[in-house]
């Protein structure tokens, strides 16, 4: 019977019953359906609040096992065995062959004292001990089968032990009318449809409640990479602060622009093959402004502009070697040289965020390439205090308000300061960047006026992103071995929160 018809039939019976309630088992019997279907129907009607009340009760009841049913028909084993004994007796071996389950029958009949074994004859024979017997067991079985309540617990347990009866529990519902009882149920709509809006039927319909206790669908979406979201956030900050982006589209750089112009001596460890990627093709750059090269050479080897210089034999060959740039400061040097050639001098604020390369041994915090952020301000009489002030504003926008500056050393800045920020999440001071005032030995050979100072700072994109996302292995953030789920799940980038 289809579900709706069952609902109707059930409601009709509840409505018509004289007792005020119906039993679900009786209902199942009268409708000639499986009890389980009735239970399903009750549940579905209960989705409508207050239509019916259904109280569950559980009745235990004895019923015959398969063996018990056979016994009800054929009599107990002991009774059958007893009847199979001729008056003059029979050997036990023969008796065993005469009836089924003779072994059980024999032991039961013996314990009932229905039999005796005459050991005087050889071999011994089994004889009836009493004239006639009643098959009490069969009677009990028939009583259980009929549902009689007059069978004693002791007898039931005896039968249970013999696996003739078993106890089953029967669940049944007592169904009665609820406060909102009705004979016809209207099914609630799962959702609004355009048809309902069209014909206004939504006004007369009931709607199923939404389930707010589960997650919604996973949407098919595109995602931006978290590190590049942070890069975008940094760009926004610089642009908000009036900085211009430098052209950093030059991974290949000459040692001259990467090191020499920055007054980084040619024996400096950073210029080692251990730290820097040198190129075999294209191996060198020879096209430098000749007069500038001469000034750079002089300031390294002999000094000038008030400097002692490093006092070593500066070699053009070393400067010509091509490398993958180790910092974007190479680009800053090119830009500063460029503005030095433009007269009169105009103050500038520059920034860049791009890849730099180090011939590092890779580990959880080091990759061969990473993103460097750099800010540069060139202005007449810009001061160390200005550098501290602009760093304060910059890091404020990154959500870091507590800054400390540590004196540090860098070949091309003096004074130099490491920037430490108090990280509330980690509850400690972490180094968050490097900064300084470019040395006159770098700026004056470019042709910048003596009173023009240049302040600069740098940091990586990777480190703050890792802290932000709680990633402690950089290889889980960058490169082709990342888990795309990390990209899918990464939040929008709000550095100041």
């Amino acid at each position: 019977m289809p579900e709706e018809n069952l609902q109707d039939a059930l409601l009709k019976q509840v409505d018509e019953c004289k007792e005020g309630f119906v039993d679900s088992n009786q209902l199942a019997a009268s409708l000639n359906v499986d009890h389980q279907s009735i239970v399903g129907t009750i549940k579905s009607i209960q989705c409508f609040d207050g239509v019916i009340d259904a109280v569950l009760k559980s009745i235990t009841k004895w019923e015959l096992t398969q063996e018990g049913k056979q016994m009800a028909e054929n009599g107990s084993y002991e009774y059958n065995l007893y009847n199979a004994i001729p008056d003059d007796g029979i050997t036990q071996a023969e008796l065993m062959k005469k009836v089924p389950n003779a072994k059980i029958g024999f032991s039961k009949a013996m314990s009932n004292r229905w039999l005796k074994v005459d050991k005087t004859s050889k071999p011994p024979v089994v004889k009836k001990q009493v004239e006639n017997v009643k098959d009490e067991v069969k009677n009990l079985i028939l009583m259980v089968q009929s549902g009689s309540m007059d069978v004693s617990d002791k007898s039931l347990n005896e039968l249970k032990k013999r696996k003739i009866v078993q106890q089953t529990s029967l669940k049944s519902y007592t169904i009665s009318k609820g406060p909102e009882f009705k004979l016809v149920l209207e099914k609630p709509e799962t959702d609004l449809t355009s048809q309902m809006l069209h014909d206004d039927s939504w006004k007369s319909k009931t709607f199923k409640d939404y389930n707010f206790n589960s997650l919604g669908q996973i949407l098919p979406s595109g995602h931006l990479h978290p590190l590049l979201k942070v890069r975008s956030a940094y760009r926004d900050i610089f642009l908000e602060m009036g900085f211009s982006e430098m052209p950093t589209n030059s991974f290949v750089e000459s040692s001259f622009w990467n090191f020499d112009t920055l007054f980084q001596p040619q024996q400096h460890p950073a210029r080692d093959a251990h730290d820097t990627f040198f190129l075999s093709d294209p191996a060198t750059t020879e096209d430098f402004p000749a007069d500038y090269v001469e000034r750079v050479k002089n300031v390294h080897s002999h000094g000038g502009y008030g400097s002692q210089g490093y006092g070593y034999d500066w070699k053009i060959d070393e400067a010509q070697k091509n490398i993958l740039r180790t910092h974007t400061t190479a680009v800053s040097a090119r830009m500063l040289y460029k503005i030095a050639q433009e007269k009169p001098f105009k103050p500038v604020k520059f920034f860049s965020i791009d890849r730099v390369f180090r011939n590092e041994t890779l580990d959880a915090t080091h990759l061969a390439e990473f993103h460097q952020v750099e800010g540069v301000v060139a202005d007449r009489s810009v001061t160390l205090a200005d550098l501290m002030g602009i760093l304060k504003e910059f890091f404020h926008k990154l959500g870091i308000d507590n800054l400390r500056f540590k004196p540090a050393y860098n070949p091309y800045t003096e004074p130099s300061m490491e920037i430490f920020g108090f990280h509330a999440g980690l509850n400690k001071w972490v180094e968050i960047g490097n900064s300084g005032v470019f040395r006159p030995e770098m700026l004056r050979p470019m042709g910048l006026p003596e009173d023009v100072n240049v302040i600069a700072w740098g940091l990586s994109v990777e480190r703050p992103t890792m802290i932000k996302l709680g990633i402690d292995n950089i290889r889980d953030l960058c490169g082709h071995k990342i888990d795309l789920q990390m990209v899918y799940d990464s939040p929008i980038c709000r550095m100041d929160m």
Partner: protein, 597 residues
């Protein structure tokens, strides 16, 4: 940045007071060094070699302190303590002076011409009546090691030999000899070895990294005394005969180098810092070094230099307001003796001692003033000029395209710029020859993953798919990044090219998705599709069937926009898929964005 390990108790003894760890950390921070780690010999060994080895070692607290790379004068207890005590105004900076020998005859080193091909520079000095305790001895050895590593660039530029002067007899000779002719008992050896035997002996020792400095030279540098006793074979090993002991009273220091300036700085540093332990403190005995041309240079030079700065200059650089008097006072804290030399001009005369070789320019004095003034005391200001911000057009376009790509349902990957030959070559079905012609090559990669700079973005995206094959299909990835190609017309011989690439990975290639993406990109770049042949001039694009070894035959097309081929799209060749360990088909596109800004 070099790190020195100093025993805390010895440090506090020398400083004359005790600090809590926080107090000392703060002092370091203000002075410009960094208390990097607090440990002990036991802890260090336990960390590096396991707890077993650490048993029975000292529990004395060691402070590991990071020293700026140009402050050679802080690389040992003596130097650090002196500078800190001057900084704290406990003492005034010492005056280092030369003192001629009692008998009026200087020690002498004669430099032979043959050294000029190997290690041309030699400088010397003598420390008289020195008291060497175990602590001083350890510090002395440690300082030499630090100087070897740092200013000496692992002994390539400078190496140091120190000797018990009373065991040897001048004049000394600095020579270079055929290795097999050199034979002596090296430090801590009991028998004589020839130079080649020594080189063999040290092959697996802590000295092995220095061997290549002279290994292949025709002649090895050697210093011996008037009796032929070998003092050292620079830069490898000293002789055993003249080694320093706790009983040593007079020390002969010889430094050989390839860089004269660094040789002098190293010598000045050692003698300045350890003259503290001489009976007559801070007095150093000079030595004559006879050069190849017969001239004599007396070392050490212990140069004191004078710089003049004005308070106005310093104030303007730092952004503070202090008077010349205050400047002179605070500079003295940084071991720079200073006095106001012209009250009217606010001029200060600063004397730079031989220990402060880091001061090359008045800007270095600016830093010392700022440090002594206290970075925390500087009032933070902002640059006054107004400037207008601007973006690079390439980045402006990239940023917008990236958002559009994500809007089209593609996820951004971030792959490395460096890769192997195979990634851009054989794995993509492209011949090695083509890669050789186009790619920038790295001469010293540590692994094959960094042989070249990538010339295309698709390989990185395929690798990203390969490590994410367990993700639900389809995978739609993109990247807007730069590749690098050789270009002889450019200054460096190479140029960056900004590319956009996208891939679609699914049970079927989904070429239609990539095709649709190209149409979408052209739409937002305001380039119209044209089916007319020939294509009209101006902002139109069309696809043109082509063949490419990376793509399945018949399933690759050029994207022709505004009359130029700007990129390629198609279904990736099954062989390429298998090279990248991919089990499903891929459709891909790669476009050169340089045409659009």
């Amino acid at each position: 940045m070099p790190t020195v390990g100093i025993k805390r108790d010895e440090l506090f003894d020398a400083l004359g007071r005790k600090y809590t760890e926080e107090e000392f950390d703060k002092l370091c921070f203000e002075f410009g060094v960094e208390l990097d780690e607090v440990t002990s010999e036991k802890q260090q060994v336990a960390k590096e070699q396991g707890k077993e080895k650490a048993k029975g070692l000292s529990d004395d607290v060691i402070y590991k302190i990071d020293i700026p790379a140009n402050r050679y004068d802080l690389l040992c207890l003596e130097g650090l303590v002196h500078s800190l005590r001057v900084f704290l105004k406990d003492i005034t900076a010492p005056q280092f002076k030369l003192k001629e020998p009692e008998n009026g005859v200087r020690q002498k080193l004669i430099v032979k011409p043959s050294t000029q091909q190997v290690r041309p520079v030699a400088v010397c000095a003598v420390l008289r009546n020195i008291t060497i305790t175990q602590q001083v001895y350890d510090s002395f050895i440690d300082l030499q090691d630090k100087l070897h590593q740092n200013i000496g660039r692992r002994r390539t530029l400078v190496s140091i030999g120190t000797h018990d002067l009373d065991t040897i007899q001048g004049p000394f000779v600095y020579d270079a000899q055929v290795p097999s002719d050199i034979k002596f008992v090296a430090l801590n050896q009991t028998e004589e070895f020839t130079a080649p035997q020594l080189m063999e002996l040290y092959k697996e020792s802590h000295l092995k990294s220095y061997l290549p400095i002279i290994q292949d030279k025709e002649k090895y540098p050697i210093i011996y005394d008037s009796n032929g006793v070998v003092l050292s074979m620079p830069p490898i090993i000293n002789g055993d005969h003249s080694k320093i002991k706790l009983s040593t009273k007079n020390i002969f220091i010889e430094i050989t180098a390839t860089d004269e300036k660094k040789a002098n700085v190293t010598l000045d540093t050692i003698v300045s810092l350890f003259s503290y332990h001489c009976a007559e403190q801070f007095l150093i005995e000079p030595v004559d070094v006879e050069q190849v041309d017969g001239t004599v240079i007396t070392t050490p030079k212990l140069p004191y230099r004078v710089e003049k700065v004005t308070a106005e200059y310093l104030n303007k650089k730092i952004g503070i307001e202090v008077t010349a008097d205050v400047v002179a006072d605070i500079l003295t804290k940084m071991c720079l003796d200073s006095e106001v030399s012209d009250v009217q001009k606010g001029e200060i005369t600063v004397t730079i001692p031989p220990t402060r070789s880091d001061i090359l320019h008045t800007c270095d004095i600016v830093e010392d003033v700022a440090i002594a003034y206290g970075y925390d005391n500087i009032v933070r200001t902002l640059p006054r000029s107004a400037t207008i911000g601007a973006q690079q057009l390439s980045m402006k376009l990239s940023e917008r395209l990236r958002k559009e790509m994500a809007g089209s349902g593609f996820t951004e990957a971030l792959t490395f710029s460096l890769c192997s030959y195979d990634d851009c070559g054989s794995k993509m079905g492209i011949s090695e020859q083509v890669v050789q012609q186009t790619a920038v090559k790295i001469s010293n990669p540590k692994t094959v993953e960094f042989q070249i700079v990538r010339t295309a973005l698709v390989p990185g995206l395929l690798k990203t798919i390969a490590s994410n094959r367990n993700m639900p299909l389809p995978l739609k990835l993109f990247e807007v990044q730069e590749v690098v190609v050789k270009d002889a017309t450019k200054e460096t011989g190479a140029r960056n090219e900004r590319h956009l690439s996208a891939v679609h990975y699914n049970k079927t290639p989904g070429f239609e998705v990539i095709h649709g993406l190209v149409d979408r990109l052209m739409q937002i770049l305001e380039i119209k599709w044209s089916s007319k042949k020939p294509c009209p001039e101006g902002k139109y694009y069309y696809l043109e069937k082509t063949e490419d070894p990376s793509y399945f035959p018949g399933r690759c097309a050029n994207i022709v926009a505004c009359g130029k081929v700007i990129g390629k799209l198609g279904a990736i060749h099954p062989k390429v898929l298998s090279n990248f360990d991919l089990t499903c088909p891929v459709a891909a596109v790669e476009i050169n964005l340089e045409h659009f800004y």
